[in-house]
Symmetry: C4
């Protein structure tokens, strides 16, 4: 028996290939957060290796992103304004010669803004070699800089994001002659998700130990061609399931974590998108079944998303 | 028998993994429309979860898209014109001081347009701190806004769309010693489609019941390396086919729906594209065979698309 | 025997899934041209279904593409110039009032050019409602139009194109205890090709018939992880090969065509690229072996591409 | 035995499909450099076939790329300045008529810069047919040229690059009842890598020969769903391993090279990325085991990257 258990421990089939490599735990914890982010922190990475401007700019929240662009715009113009001041304000035509240094600086600042955006009203224009060199350089840099900024802006805007919604909780419900672990997923948006694949894994603390094992769970079906409506993902708890004969207490005691990953092709973005979520024992309802969502209204199939988590009593098979 | 039927009902092999999850039906209906859109409506989705600006802007019809851009352009300029008016028209040089408020507003409006497009004739130009701040901001926002608008425009333009054409109707025709369900597909454009994969599924209402079963149908071949000419997709109706021994009446009575999905790599877009269609009993011709399309003109293979749906009488094998 | 032959004729394994669907031929012909284009023409396709501007603009030769852009630029400016003339030249400030209609038209033309490119010198600028409306519209359309033009330009520039070179001819050479059909392929550029997959198929005219059969040929290996050097693709002519016991005359008489497709991931474009070629009997050398290309220069592996087609005598196994 | 050895030599299973095709070697060498580049040089490639501007511009170092853009900007403006001089400086309004040819040339140069960037202050503006034609052409070319430049700039910026770090050395460590070849890999950045696949191959010089064989090594697991933490890749040295019963001396004497390739989907770039590295005998530590990196800090998993290469003594199983 135990040898079999050992051999099982290393068999590819049962190992969930999650790349977590986590064996030793401090007891109760969560690997994958509900929102799909990981509960992992890496330390002592050299800054230059760690940093990735593109990734940061693409994934930071909108306010910060726009703030950075505005700030950069302000800083660069201040910089160039100072240069024009240093060259000498008399090298800019059409400046109001009245007013003190501040007024002149502001004029230089706005001239810089008109140059870097290639707006170029021309009320103020550069005169002489130096001012012209700076202006010619600035306008070219402006084109490059705004290409990056607007490229990032569009990159953020057109970045496909997961549009699926998982049921807040999973259930253990009767399934044919046995029981099954079930959760639901729906695409809340209008874009079509195609070739949708789901993997379900479970992480269990070993009895009387701090070691963790990862098992992948077989599914009734793990792939659908498209996902126009609701999909109830089912892991049949058969004799071969690592969950076989588990009680709610077992899940608690072994600090189980169900780790869900979903892969799909988003037709409107023509790109592959991924979603992740996880369920802890507290988020699993025993002896409950999901209500049937699909209704028919004048020959259209209608799905009421609000009822995604709705369940009804359903005595488990023993 | 019935137990076998049950077991079949849940066997992965027979279940078509369509992610439709539709079991209960109001009788006759169509899941997948002829144009590949789904007959599904989702309700009670929170607005913020439902909405996807990118998806909407990419998939809305051209007139609406261009209308939105024009409207936005008009609204934003009106907005900024009002701001310039509020700041005081005297802060814009070169304005014709003649004319009433409307003329001045229009001048401000056009100045705004010249600023947001970074056109900047300069006949009218901002004077003083406030006007300059607004203009500098507007020109920068203009660059960002137009980056989005033009990005979307190009995104729409370069979005790969299915270029295949399915035969309007399918046929049940003799196929070797048995019969086969057949339809044809052709790529009507010049771009090459590569690694073309087809899946065919059927949805049947269970006898004396409102439940539906989905079966995937085996194909003579389900993938071709490329699709330069016409492809006749064939499901051989063997003993193992869910359609075995079906009559036209059976299809009608069980409200059959053939659901077709096609996946391909579009060489000119370097992207994967998908197409979908479906056939209802009324769109299936029994005892008809598709005519042979391929002709030879001075050593070139010629395909006459107009004859895609042409068939001839062909007595079925019993 | 013959029954076996028949069954073989329809077995998926032997059918090469090329999507050619060509059965009846006018004798000698070539399906796939040496450059990978197809020898297929489609007729009677409704214009709107056939045309795909993006595809055309991406694949047309450079001179025509640039010609179209220049022409469009000229036409649009002529159009707007006419509008400005119609509105009345006096609505453009700074025009030289001297000169006849032609001079004025040219001024309007160049003003239009300065507007559509958002150049806006401002020497000439619009005055009054109408002229301003046209100018504001033109500058916005200019931004959109140039976004498309430059997008296409960049799309063409960044479009991955096959960078592999196939040997001009294939060989039938001794291979272990049997013989093999072999050709060579090399990536002539610096970009890395990864996960390179090859499929080889043969199209044969049936004996005493005009029908054609397509067979896919098993390869010594059909996929390599990367392709830094030369790859000799080998089809071992074993007892199970459709080519078994063929003579050069057989290939001629059955008008054989070897159809090669290659798929790879181009690391510098981060995209999948495809190449195709074909070999007719005249392009196959019997009893020849490709010379060994790989040399070593101060610990670097050196490949002499010029010798890609070099072979030496090698008596075939019988 | 030897026959078995031969058959093995050609069996697909053992052959590592690396596309290296290297059989004959000058003894000790390295196929794949530590940084993932190949030790291969191709000669005699026609220039037009070899060159790929996009690839070069995307992969050249930043300073050279920016240098090329600056140089191009300078050259083009010089060119157009000369044209304006040729046409006659009097065709540009607002030029300071004072100053010699150089001053005038510089004015023309800066006017060109203001035109090509569509800046267009208008202090200097073209007059007459010729100057206007040149200016109109230049501004259009400017838009196209900068579209390419900025497109390349953004292409470089948004190009996904491998973000994984392999352990500097590999180890041969005890693994269950046998030993295993192990190395570690970690994603040093915040972006998620999904569906991470690894292949490990070994290149060995044949005994008493200059020929090389390539073998692919079976892995404990070759794919993980995601890689939030550290992954220790393990090749169990079982009886069937080509490394079975090898000593450090054997590796040296047969000039072994372990070739590692990794494929993953980068979620932030929505693209597939590849990494490569290799280990030579000198980079392999025998009887060492990697220390366990994963720690727990207030319920977060913490990975100390600095210790990626840290090992401890671990006597090998014999």
């Amino acid at each position: 028996m135990s040898s079999k258990k050992n051999s099982k421990k290393y068999s590819k089939k049962e190992y969930s290939d999650l790349g977590l490599g986590v064996k030793e735990t401090s007891g109760v914890y969560r690997t994958l957060n509900k929102d799909g982010t990981f509960n992992v922190r890496k330390t002592n990475i050299p800054f230059l290796e760690r940093i990735n401007f593109f990734h940061s700019l693409v994934s930071m929240p909108w306010p910060r992103f726009l703030g950075i662009i505005l700030l950069g715009y302000f800083v660069i113009n201040t910089l160039f304004a100072s240069i024009y001041m240093a060259i000498g304000i008399e090298n800019l035509t059409g400046m109001k010669q009245v007013g003190g240094t501040f007024e002149q600086f502001m004029e230089a600042f706005f001239f810089s803004a008109q140059t870097i955006t290639t707006l170029g009203y021309g009320r103020v224009a550069p005169l002489g070699l130096l001012a012209n060199i700076v202006a010619a350089t600035e306008s070219m840099l402006g084109l490059l800089a705004f290409a990056l900024a607007t490229g990032m802006l569009y990159g953020r805007f057109s970045k496909p994001k997961a549009t699926v919604k998982f049921s807040e909780h999973a259930v253990i419900a009767p399934y044919h002659e046995m029981n099954g672990f079930m959760f639901r997923v729906v695409n809340v948006q209008e874009n079509q998700l195609l070739e949708v694949e789901v993997t379900v894994s479970i992480s269990l603390r070993r009895d009387n130990s701090q070691l963790r094992d990862f098992f992948s769970l077989d599914l009734e079906r793990s792939k659908v061609v498209f996902l126009p409506s609701v999909w109830t993902v089912v892991h049949p708890i058969s004799e071969t399931s690592p969950l076989h004969a588990f009680t709610p207490e077992d899940l608690e005691e072994r600090d189980a974590e169900f780790i869900i990953t979903m892969k799909a092709f988003d037709e409107s973005f023509s790109q592959t998108v991924y979603s992740r979520t996880s369920y802890k024992p507290a988020e699993i309802q025993w002896g409950q079944k999901f209500v049937y969502l699909v209704a028919y209204e004048n020959d259209k199939i209608a799905i009421d998303i609000e009822r995604l988590d709705e369940t009804y009593e359903a005595p488990l098979n023993s």
